[in-house]
Assembly symmetry: C2
Homo-oligomer: 487 residues x 2
């Protein structure tokens, strides 16, 4: 019965403009044509089965008798080849239009694909004027060019690959932590902490609050409130009740920078582990996270990642292989400064013990280590915030802090053991005039304090590092930076 | 050799204040005592093995010869019972202190637990003054009481259970979408859209920006920018390139409300599916998501969920079972108004066709449906925003929108088909004076537009619904609401 109906549809379809086409979508729910995603069709072994595909046209090629289409629905980079009678061609069938197609999935005679769809019906459900559409058929647009169209760039191959990769990487990171017994904590976005210096903070108030009727306390939250720059302090709260916690969400910096390295809104993966007394535990965790996630990504998104390694960053794949295969290097900050000082390279910033490493230094150190990631440990105490654990190694005086440097981006992760000793923390907070502000933080150390530590990893930098993408704006669905907040 | 050393440690331990205890943690790395989480110890079958446990003391009971401790490390609600010689008792061994213990895991003679740790070493690594600590041994503190201590409440049983449940629910939701081929999109937090009326928006500028030197354009992003109230419009961008997308992240409302139902910062799960022409597809997705996630939660967090159903919301478990077992009801908005009008209940807001349903109405409808969730479909066109799809059913005139109402909370999800027809959308935007603001949104319909739809679910409300928690502030790690932004 169903088969008969399908044959009927097919026969009717050979006459262009048939009445059946008009109510095609309703008909199809009654027919045996199974709605199928392109990804599943491509790997299907059920040739001869009747399927329905919905997607967007990536290419149109018309021959004397046959019409060839490539149709993608976003489920995979590779499109499905559709072959139809050239009678089914219409003016609306253009690059970028949306189509609804039924036909029979058959073994393809070409070596380029294993299957193709022999279409009985092709219906354009959303037109796309090729003159106005900013992307052109068969053109490879640069990442810079497509960045101008934040609402349309997901329709290009490169950016839809990026989005699938980003989604898969997110999932890989969550899985890693879950598999290792971490509890995920949604650390707050709005916070009354301003620990990293007010200059780079976004402040939050209701729109129109300048006209607040309450002149004595104009703040919505009673106190000035900001967008978070890190979930660390909130994770440390949780380190007093769980063996291991993490957060993975947006963080913010109001940095007046148009650089390829900075976003005003970016994602951070942050983890905190309790009962750890050694930086080594953190190093192991970072290295394992990085390797496990990257392996997952290369195996689950092979086609999409290959697009980047082939067209965006030729030669980069070798660096990724080094990340996977080699044990990461570990050097102390003091050794790093020695290496920089001994080198013949001319730096803009002269390397000097007691000064922060600059991006040029970080990149040099990675090169120096043969493009293998390198941990730099034990930074000068005075360079690090109040929470970093004092190594008490005077006269040198360092803190148990670590950065992980990688190819392309330089600093990818930063972490430290946290000062869990109440007296030492109290003294340091008092010295910085922060005793009152962080009274709650000090209390964490007064009730069942445990040695703990953690780190943060910039997620977009991670994607840059794996894909070899030069500009961080090309790794996030909607980029926000100084002077730019499109959509 | 290793065994010998352990015996040595054990023997030495019997003398209180032994020198070994001082450097205990270093020693242990050399010994055979495996660092073990409480959760793993509880389910371990390897009795007789030497393990090391680190956690917090939940109870201390001293008998003549023996000391009994309950130790929790946050990996499970159930603590591990530790039995030690009373010689190992010290003044510092109090409720809330952090301990590091080695011993032998043995079959427990008691029926309360299958295993217990017979300790050879007990070391207090973080003291906890019971007088100052706000939580007291053996007391069951109310959720209201512990809410006063946002930095410490994770140390209570109830809130650590909540956090494990929240983490597991997050994971269940991600898995659901991943298993169904959805691409996760990190929709932006900062946006220049202000579609839902400026009254409830938070605005964002760098701290200290009132002194901006650029008087002509004082905005960091050149345009006024806000915290997102929904990722929907950004997901709709992606609906033009993927078959199914979702986002799961924080959203914001600057609502001046202290109610048990509202937060200024809360999490939303939002999904958008392409090539859908029927509300039914959305209903099916919502029902499936809700049932699948809840089943996962009940099976993976049984003990933690039981704590809530036993102590926080007795009798609530039956409602959850109804959610799982029964097919959800579907009624139209028009039917809903009829039901409300026919009822004998006195409502504060009189039900009237064309007016929004109030929480009292929503709760009545759920009760009316026997505490089984109910979808209300096809709301008056004029009640819904510009993006809702016109049903073109004048004179009644409705839009293809739906809300899902559930016990305890009322509205849990809201969704709609989106207006994909460019002419209809253009007319509606023009009517609202939004044609220019949403020119980009209109363009989505001009280049390969497809019928699509989606919904949003309040994540905290979901947790309330499953756990029976009355106040939404008890479902999020750090609650933000008008006049309150602690930490």
């Amino acid at each position: 019965m169903i088969l008969n109906r399908l044959r009927l549809i097919r026969r009717a379809a050979s006459a262009p403009g048939c009445s059946l086409c008009i109510s095609l979508s309703k008909q199809l729910y009654c027919s045996s044509a199974r709605r199928t995603r392109v990804r599943d069709a491509l790997s299907s072994l059920e040739t001869g089965s009747s399927i329905r595909i919905q997607g967007w046209v990536r290419s149109v090629r018309s021959q004397k008798n046959n019409l060839f289409l490539h149709v993608s629905d976003g489920s995979s980079l590779q499109p499905l080849q559709v072959v139809a009678s050239s009678d089914l061609n219409t003016r609306e069938l253009t690059f970028g239009c949306a189509v609804d197609i039924i036909g029979s999935l058959e073994k393809s005679p070409s070596k380029k694909q294993s299957v193709e769809l022999q279409a009985s019906h092709v219906k354009v459900i959303g037109e796309c004027n090729p003159v106005d559409f900013p992307f052109k058929i068969k053109e490879r647009h640069s990442l810079e060019y497509i960045r101008q169209y934040p609402h349309l760039r997901c329709r290009t191959n490169a950016f839809s690959s990026l989005l699938r990769i980003r989604s898969e990487a997110t999932s890989a990171i969550h899985s890693y932590f879950r598999d290792n017994g971490f509890v995920q904590i949604h650390t707050p976005i709005i916070t009354s902490n301003d620990c990293e210096g007010a200059g780079e903070l976004f402040q939050v108030e209701p729109a129109g609050n300048e006209h607040s009727s309450d002149k004595e306390n104009p703040h919505f939250f009673s106190v000035p409130s900001y967008l978070t720059v890190s979930g660390q302090l909130h994770l440390e709260v949780m380190a007093g009740a769980f063996p291991a916690v993490y957060t993975f969400g947006p963080t913010f910096r109001a940095e007046n920078s148009q650089s390829r390295r900075h976003l005003a809104e970016f994602y951070m993966v942050e983890a905190e582990i309790s009962f750890t007394e050694s930086l080594e535990d953190l190093l192991k965790l970072m290295e394992d996270l990085l390797k496990t996630s990257t392996e997952h990504l290369l195996s689950h998104c092979a086609e999409d990642v290959e697009l980047f390694h082939k067209y965006v960053s030729p030669g980069h794949r070798e660096k990724v292989d080094l990340i996977l295969k080699r044990k990461f290097n570990v050097i102390s900050y003091t050794e790093a400064i020695d290496i920089l000082k001994r080198s013949s390279q001319q730096f803009i910033y002269k390397p000097e013990w007691g000064c922060d490493l600059q991006t040029e230094h970080e990149k040099f150190l990675v090169k120096h280590c043969g493009d293998v990631p390198v941990f730099v440990t034990d930074y000068p105490y005075d360079l690090k915030p109040f929470y970093a654990r004092d190594n008490q190694d005077q006269p040198q005086h360092t803190a148990a802090a670590v950065d992980l440097l990688v190819p392309i981006v330089g600093e990818l992760c930063g972490g430290s053991l946290r000062e869990e000793r109440p007296e030492l923390l109290k003294t340091r907070l008092a010295g910085a005039g922060l005793e009152e502000t962080y009274a709650w933080y000090l209390q964490l150390r007064e009730f069942g304090s445990v040695p703990h530590g953690g780190f943060g990893m910039g997620f977009e930098r991670y994607l840059q590092c794996v894909l070899g993408v030069d500009n961080i704006k090309d790794t996030i669905p909607f980029a926000r930076s100084s002077r730019s907040c499109l959509l």
